[in-house]
Symmetry: C2
């Protein structure tokens, strides 16, 4: 399974970066291959200063070795080895009318000292962070997520949509990072669902990514915007940074276990502002976004 899934994310990385480069038309992804001293490595691809994408990364990695101590504590195990691979992407568009998107699909195996697999699971999801809210874009994104889920299990979309709203919650701001999508973890083989079933589900979601995001980019990338709107995007990007550095388990795990810092922090936006006590005008488009972030809503009724 680990080889099959790694091959899948390798190909998916190629598909996604090729499509995004075609959309951007100016910038291309710069590739960095890196090795992890303790085992494994990754293929980081970053785009910067594009016509459409101000900054973004589409990274894959496969790492293995002894389970770091902090992670042993987290999982409540001792003397375990692990293998983990996944694709992580974050795209920060230049135009504030185009939302930022994040996605991650991953597979994890844990071994005992003899090298036997003692646990294995999939995880992942994708979520959208708009600066200006177009209801039809949010509905489109969620519809693609739901369609991918529904092929496998009608309970998946409501369940993983709710988990996404829960996970990407900036507690100290009492608001969501964005308008959500899907979030799932510890997807393990059960009597009803084999590991192969989960593989089919996760790859279905991965394959749906471009369908969920690209039409929104195409529709909004050439909209006219002014400096105030760009400022608002940069202020909201500050909340993105706050979530990733204060709350995001994946980021903190990477920072605290000697991960490749530049690959982890490629998620941080290119230009960011913090303005003291910034509050948009009531009833403005900026305020409309905040109202939705304060109370995550259902996009498919």
């Amino acid at each position: 399974m680990k080889n099959k899934f790694y091959k899948y994310i390798e190909e998916l990385q190629d598909t996604i970066t090729a499509k995004l480069e075609a959309i951007d038309g100016v910038a291309t992804f710069k590739q960095d291959l890196w090795k992890r001293p303790e085992g494994g490595g990754g293929r980081t691809r970053v785009i910067e200063h594009g016509a459409v994408f101000e900054k973004g990364g589409v990274n894959i990695s496969a790492v293995h070795g002894e389970l770091p101590e902090s992670m042993q504590k987290y999982f409540g195990v001792k003397d375990a080895n692990f293998f983990a691979c996944g694709l992580s992407l974050v795209l920060h568009p230049k135009n504030p009318m185009v939302p930022t998107v994040h996605a991650n699909w991953r597979y994890f195996e844990m071994y005992d000292k003899e090298g036997n697999i003692v646990d294995q699971w999939f995880g992942g999801g994708q979520d959208l962070t708009p600066y200006y809210l177009f209801d039809e874009d949010a509905t489109h994104f969620h519809t693609v997520c739901k369609t991918a889920c529904d092929t496998h299990n009608l309970e998946f979309y409501p369940k993983y949509k709710a988990r996404c709203d829960e996970y990407f919650w900036n507690t100290h701001r009492n608001e969501a990072r964005g308008i959500g999508g899907l979030f799932f973890d510890y997807c393990k083989a059960t009597d009803e669902l084999s590991l192969q079933d989960w593989y089919s589900f996760v790859t279905e979601v991965g394959n749906s990514f471009l369908k969920s995001y690209v039409p929104i980019v195409e529709k909004r990338k050439d909209l006219v915007y002014n400096k105030d709107q760009k400022d608002w995007q940069e202020i909201r990007r500050g909340r993105y940074v706050e979530f990733n550095l204060v709350h995001d388990k994946g980021t903190l795990f990477g920072l605290k276990t000697n991960g490749r810092i530049e690959s982890i922090l490629m998620s941080l936006p290119p230009h960011v502002q913090w303005v003291y006590d910034h509050n948009p005008e009531p009833e403005s488009p900026e305020d409309k976004l905040l109202q939705v972030l304060k109370e995550p809503k259902e996009w498919i009724l």
Copy 2:
């Protein structure tokens, strides 16, 4: 003691903000009074868009009530009440030749259920974060810190200088946030030093703040700089954000215990950049700074 120290920081806030406004010449501090629902409140003063200070805050607060659960765990106590007051300041100058400065001086009391004081201590410090390193500025800052310490105890400067280097260490970057200064905490009455002695020490340090920083500002604020140097400042400010949001105990404590978010996060810089895998030219002024941050040095020999 709590009233005496609060009165001291009230006056110090006035002194510092008046002096900084005089230096800036354009912007003034905007004051926000706020109340903490569980007890106490603060006086936040923020300056933005100045000729010298792009953003900064000089805040005082005095809060009290039941010790929040996370803090009970931290201190290993149960059913305690507390009082805490302090002054916190961060200044982000516009000109990249002027360093960012941070300072904090605080006093803490802990009570049992009957309201008896069971513990009380001072803490604080001040530290400098340059974007371009002028050795003479670093030496000046540390000399003022040392002079304030030496009046009280010759062991204080080496001890608190070392603690500062240790505390402001961005572990995930393997570099210091800046070039240090002083950091002390849990300064409690002992056979040798009474609480009054600690009060004298902490206020001596607080009184030395303007002497440590203002001459540097005066000397560098009108230096010419170019866009590359401004970009470098904004990239380095990213490391400042990373430290404050990932590692700084004060910030995380505030965020996780329902503190006043806007007062806590006034420490974040106004404009920040994250550039993928940015490395300055070897031997450049930018690289010279990095070399010092990677290995904190003694500024007074």
